[in-house]
C-alpha cells in the first residue's frame, strides 16, 4: 500500500505496468510538498462517451462469424452549410 505524509512514498504499478491512480495522487502530493516547480502530470481521463444510445459490440459467433448485425443507424441530419446559413448553392 501507499504511504502518505512520511516523506517517503511507495508507488504501485498495475498489471499493465502503469502507475495506479493512488500512486498518481501520492506522486502529485510529494512533488508539491517538495516545494519545487515540479508539477505532476494529470492522469488521463477517458473521453466522455459519444451521445446517443450505447453501441453494442458486434456479436462474434463460432469461428468468428457474426450471427447478427447491429441496427442500421438513422441517416445523418442534413447539415448542408448553405442551407444552415441561408445561402443558395450557385454551383461554384
Amino acid at each position: 500500500m501507499a504511504e502518505k505524509g512520511t516523506g517517503k512514498i511507495k508507488l504501485e504499478f498495475d498489471r499493465n505496468g502503469c502507475l495506479t491512480p493512488e500512486a498518481w495522487e501520492l506522486l502529485k502530493d510529494e512533488m508539491s510538498k517538495a516545494g519545487s516547480t515540479y508539477i505532476a502530470f494529470d492522469p488521463v481521463k477517458p473521453p466522455p462517451p459519444p451521445p446517443g444510445p450505447k453501441q453494442e459490440p458486434w456479436p462474434v459467433g463460432e469461428g468468428g462469424i457474426c450471427g447478427t448485425k447491429p441496427p442500421i443507424p438513422p441517416p445523418p441530419l442534413d447539415l448542408c452549410l448553405f442551407r444552415r446559413i441561408g445561402l443558395r448553392n450557385e454551383g461554384r
Binding site: 511507495k10 508507488l11 504499478f13 498489471r15 505496468g17 502507475l19 506522486l27 517538495a34 505532476a40
Partner: protein, 331 residues
C-alpha cells in the same frame, strides 16, 4: 517541472531486444550475448501487452536494440507490423520506431522493408577509416566490417525518403588521430545531407577481462579530442550547430531509465530499466508474463525513478551512475 513524458501513461517507450546475439565482437562491447533470440512465447506476450495498452496510448515508441536486432528481422517485422496495426485501430495512437544496429546487414532491401514499417531513425557506429574501424569492430568469426557498413550507409544516402541516421563515432586513444580522415570521407559521401548527423562518444571500460584499458582517454583528453572533432564536423556540415540551452532544457536531460513509462524488454521477457547495465541485479524491475500482463517490482522501479522526485539532476540524467558504487556492475 518534470516533463510530463516521464510519467505520462499515454506514452510507452520500449527498448526491445528481439535477440541478444550478435555477429560482431567489438573489443569494448559491454554485452555478454548469453541470451539469444526471443522465444515465441515472449513475442506473443509482448504483442498481447501492446494490445492491452493500445487503447489508452497516444504514443508508442519502440527502440529496436540487441544484440544485433537485424539478426531477428522476422521478429522485428512481426512486432512492428502488429504495432502499426494497433495504431490503425486505435487513433490517435502514433507509433515511432528507431533501430540501433551495427549496420552490416542493413542492405538496401532490408532498409526498404524497415522504412515501410515506419522504422525511421537509425543509429550506426563507425570507429574510423576502414583499417582503424576493422581493428575494433570485428566479426565474431574474425574479419573486418567497414566495407559493408559503408556501402550500406552510402546506399541509404541515395534513398529519397524521410529518415535519420545518427552516425556514432567512438573515440579512443588508438583512433583519435585518424578520425579527421573519417570525417572528411563522410563529408564527401553525404556532407550537407541533414538526415545524417554525427555523434562522437568516448568508449568506456566494459569491465570484463581482456579489455585494454590503456585505450581509454583521460577525461581531459576526451574533452579535448571531441571538441576538436566537433569543430571539424561543424565545418563539414556533419553536425547541427549547437542550440541554446542544455539538453533537456533547464531541468537537464532525463534518461529513459528514470521514466515511469519506459522499459527494456530483454529477449527472455525480463523488464529492465537500463540498457547498458544489463547484468546488474536491481536493473530487472519486472517480468512480462505469458498472458501479456506484467509484474513490476515497485520498490526497484521507484529506485530508478527517484530523480523525478528527489530534485537531483544527476539521478535523472543517469540513475545508474548516481547509484551507490557498491551496487554497480560495470558492463
Amino acid at each position: 517541472m518534470i516533463p510530463s513524458d516521464c510519467l505520462d501513461p499515454r506514452r510507452l517507450h520500449l527498448v526491445l531486444m528481439p535477440t541478444e546475439a550478435c555477429h560482431f565482437r567489438c573489443t569494448y562491447c559491454f554485452e555478454d550475448f548469453r541470451l539469444g533470440r526471443m522465444p515465441p512465447g515472449v513475442v506473443r506476450a509482448l504483442k498481447v501487452w501492446l494490445e492491452r495498452r493500445a487503447p489508452e496510448l497516444e504514443l508508442l515508441q519502440l527502440s529496436w536494440f540487441g544484440g544485433e536486432p537485424l539478426l531477428a528481422m522476422d521478429l522485428l517485422e512481426e512486432v512492428q507490423a502488429h504495432a502499426i496495426e494497433l495504431a490503425r485501430r486505435h487513433p490517435p495512437l502514433l507509433v515511432q520506431a528507431n533501430l540501433t544496429t551495427n549496420g552490416e546487414r542493413l542492405e538496401p532491401e532490408t532498409f526498404r522493408r524497415l522504412l515501410a514499417l515506419r522504422v525511421t531513425d537509425y543509429q550506426i557506429t563507425l570507429d574510423g577509416p576502414a583499417d582503424v574501424h576493422d581493428r575494433t569492430r570485428v566479426l565474431a568469426g574474425g574479419g573486418g566490417t567497414f566495407a559493408r557498413i559503408w556501402a550500406n550507409l552510402v546506399a541509404m544516402h541515395e534513398v529519397e525518403a524521410e529518415f535519420s541516421v545518427v552516425l556514432r563515432v567512438h573515440v579512443h586513444r588508438e583512433n583519435r588521430q585518424r578520425l579527421p580522415e573519417l570525417l572528411e570521407r563522410c563529408s564527401e559521401a553525404w556532407g550537407g545531407d541533414r538526415r545524417f548527423r554525427l555523434s562522437l562518444k568516448a568508449i568506456f571500460d566494459p569491465g570484463r577481462p581482456g579489455f585494454d584499458a590503456e585505450s581509454l582517454l583521460a577525461p581531459e583528453e576526451e574533452t579535448e579530442a571531441i571538441d576538436a572533432l566537433l569543430v571539424q564536423a561543424a565545418e563539414l556540415e556533419l553536425v547541427d550547430p549547437p542550440r541554446a540551452g542544455a539538453p533537456g532544457g533547464e531541468r537537464g536531460p532525463v534518461c529513459y531509465a528514470a521514466k515511469a513509462n519506459s522499459f527494456v524488454v530483454r529477449s527472455n521477457g525480463a523488464l529492465n530499466k537500463c540498457s547498458v547495465a544489463l547484468s546488474a541485479a536491481d536493473n530487472q524491475v519486472g517480468r512480462l508474463n505469458e498472458d501479456g500482463t506484467v509484474t513490476i517490482d515497485a520498490a526497484r522501479m521507484q529506485h530508478w525513478m527517484r530523480g523525478l522526485f528527489s530534485g537531483d539532476a544527476e539521478e535523472r540524467r543517469c540513475p545508474m551512475a548516481a547509484r551507490p558504487v557498491a551496487s554497480q556492475t560495470a558492463r
